[in-house]
């Protein structure tokens, strides 16, 4: 499949990139592992591609005990999965990046791109030829959904691996571009709508991801189930972080991906653990609560019933793993 025609631009600063992005039909490219596939399929056909890879301000990985971690948006998933610092201080992130896609794709894909990954659907991510045979769905500008018949909106599935890990670690994200630069909690960029996964304007992009230094006696973990061990999106991915202080569980966060149209936190399950002495029974109880509260979508051939069972298993698994590290 040939790529469609586009004009190629190579800015060297955020300022230059921002001004180029004001051109109508401009899109950013970094790793390109998702974008170029969608372009080959004519899912998206930008007129201008603005390559961010030569912008120094988007690079770097630095840790400071007081300020925490700064990850430049261009940092590849491979670098994060192999970094001793990340493995030691932010195991959930090392595990999530290490389980994304395949080695070659991790060498290319960036954390900024993974955070901004568009939600997917087997009726949307298809070639132009395939799409001709159907009346467009919501995500293609039509007014129906093939997955949830009768649905009033698009229910495309959000399947990126790193966002739940970053949510569990309390990450914030710095957005730059043609509008006011802003730093906000990562959760705030997600719309939870299938139509468009994040609320970044076409002229905006991620500069960096900021994660606070891990609290003392804390642990985190990411667990993923997929049909294949490699080159696959999760059927479900769950990340947990918890801190033990004074024998009790504090600051617990549980987040998951591939259940609905965005990465979500499960506050009800977190509350069950909060300020309690952690036991195997309590973790099992939190897992049951997550299973009851989250309403997964039947998608990509995986039933909601199966996914719900799996939520129990992975919430329990990731909490136990995080607890072991926190002890």
């Amino acid at each position: 499949m040939r790529l469609p025609q586009f004009n190629y631009l190579e800015p060297e600063s955020i300022k230059e990139a921002s001004s180029l992005l004001t051109e109508k039909g401009a899109a950013v490219i970094a790793g390109g592992t998702d974008l170029l596939v969608n372009m080959k399929k004519r899912v998206i056909t930008p007129k201008y591609l603005v390559n961010l890879k030569h912008i120094e301000e988007l690079k770097g990985l630095a840790f400071d005990e007081t300020k925490g971690l700064r990850i430049g948006a261009l940092t590849t998933l491979d670098v994060l999965s192999k970094s001793t610092l990340i493995k030691e201080k932010y195991p959930a992130l090392a595990q999530a990046t290490g389980r994304t896609a395949a080695p070659q794709l991790r060498n290319m894909a960036t954390i900024g791109g993974n955070v901004c990954l568009e939600s997917m659907c087997m009726y949307y991510n298809q070639s132009a030829e395939w799409m001709k045979s159907r009346i467009p769905c919501f995500k293609r500008g039509g007014n129906q959904c093939y997955v949830a018949k009768g649905s009033k909106e698009c229910v495309a599935l959000f399947e990126a691996d790193t966002p739940p890990a970053l949510l569990s670690l309390g990450a914030r994200v710095k957005i730059v571009g043609n509008s006011q630069e802003r730093v906000l909690p990562l959760a705030d960029i997600y719309t939870q709508k299938g139509q468009k996964a994040n609320n970044l304007a076409p002229t905006e992009f991620v500069q960096e991801i900021l994660i606070p230094a891990p609290p003392k006696n804390s642990g985190s973990a990411y667990q993923k189930m997929s049909q294949r061990e490699s080159i696959d999106f999760p059927i479900l991915g769950v990340a947990s972080q918890l801190t033990i202080a004074g024998g009790k569980c504090r600051e617990v966060k549980i987040a998951m991906t591939a259940v609905v149209s965005g990465p979500i936190r499960v506050k009800e399950a977190e509350e069950a653990l909060s300020d309690q002495a952690v036991t195997d029974e309590l973790i099992a109880k939190a897992a049951t609560i997550a299973q009851e509260k989250v309403r997964p979508l039947s998608h990509q051939g995986i039933s909601a019933w199966y996914k719900r069972k799996l939520i129990g298993v992975l919430v329990k698994g990731s909490l136990k793993q995080a607890w072991d590290l926190a002890k």
Binding site: A101, Q104, N107
Partner: protein, 152 residues
Amino acid sequence: MQQLIQLKVNGECYETAVEPRRTLLEVLRDNLYLTGVKEGCDVGSCGACTVLIDGVATLACLTLAVDSQGKEITTVEGLAKNGKLTLLQQNFVDHGAIQCGFCTPGMVLASKSLLDDNPKPTEAEVKLAISGNLCRCTGYKKIVEAVLATAK
């Protein structure tokens, strides 16, 4: 609109005119006639188009040729010197790790990038390193054996 680009492939410099939309895979095969790099799925799911860019295993089907300038690109043609196969390639032959041969260039380069970083990998590490490469003849076992034999 076409533009002139310079690519450094297997130690040699090439100059060629391409449109920005041409992938590195297309340019290596169609402009430079380096047909060792294969087009499999063309959407980043099979690893047949794996090349090394500055020593890192990369998918040429999802890399723009215009963005590959100023880098050292290695294809499978760049491994053998004076007609003599590298130890890794010879082990692929000796262990019967080649069936139809279509995945072989990608497998060899993915394995090479592993061995360059980690000369003594475990079996699990070898399997992980080639986990982005599909072999539809399903000859994975022999490939793992060939890589492990090279590491000895």
